[in-house]
Symmetry: C2
Subunit: 151 residues, 2 copies
DNA sequence: GTTGAAACTTATTAAAC
DNA sequence: GTTTAATAAGTTTCAAC
């Protein structure tokens, strides 16, 4: 990753766009105290430099009938490249998995999973996750509340 | 949460906007196979119904000099409302904490934390997190890779 | 649901300072 | 960096089908 020099104005832009990704350039410029022209240039530069990787809508899973959110910690029994590949392809394939992090510590992967209800979660864990040969151990924590989120 | 009925077209719209939040209505309509007018109406309806909660830019923390990402599991010693309030206000105050989830299981909260380097992480854990009186126990996992992300 | 057109708002670029 | 101006593009609303 090429390191990028960001001044205070750039950081203001990033902070605003992180929360309001669809704000118009005119309002963004007004918000950060800059005129539209250099504001637009800075945004384009931040996009080209990879500081801003893209934009996305924040979707409410509950409103879409996905009311169960869980964190699943997964330990793989085998760590050979073929085992990791098999696990990774399953992770990419399963739409219930919205996030997958490789972590240090006691467990190897942390997944964020969303399902319609507890039955769908049970089916997911038993029939999908534990069906992956390299998965040795899973531990599920139900997410009761999102207390802070920058997304 | 009021449950919303979404048809296949709505789900297509959500799927596209989740990935490309700044797509124009004309291109979105073309992408999902609908004309611009009803497409725009559907998007507005999805926003009003709370399915789409907002839009945001995807920021690359590494490009901003925040190269360390960790998951921190936190157990509170005291669960009285005052203790939870103290912890929550610290969570909101500390910019390193980008996500905070209340979970069931062994530990009470899971945090996603970003810092500039390991020294900043050490200072954060020792001087900020452990300084909160209600925090009894923390466990930190370094995030080595993001293998999947819907954001 | 579709198309088409008009009115309005932005974005983008260039030129000046 | 700023402002102004002009062109291009997108959004919104309306009518008619």
């Amino acid at each position: 990753m090429t390191n990028v020099v960001l001044d205070g104005t750039d950081r203001k832009i990033v902070a605003v766009l992180a929360r309001e990704g669809r704000i118009s350039n005119l309002e963004l410029a007004d918000r950060i105290g800059l005129s539209p022209t250099p504001c637009s240039r800075r945004v384009k530069r931040l996009e080209e430099e990879g500081v801003i990787m893209g934009y996305g809508a924040r979707i409410n899973p509950a409103a879409m009938g996905q009311s169960i959110s869980v964190m699943v910690q997964v330990r793989l029994s085998q760590q050979a490249p073929a085992d990791i590949d098999a696990f990774m392809s399953a992770v990419q394939r399963l739409p219930q998995i919205t996030e997958c992090l490789l972590v240090t510590g006691d467990l190897d992967y942390v997944l964020k999973v969303q399902t319609r209800d507890v039955e769908a979660l049970r089916d997911f864990v038993l029939k999908e996750l534990k069906a992956i040969p390299s998965v040795a151990e899973t531990s599920t924590m139900l997410i009761l509340d999102v207390a802070k989120s920058t997304v």
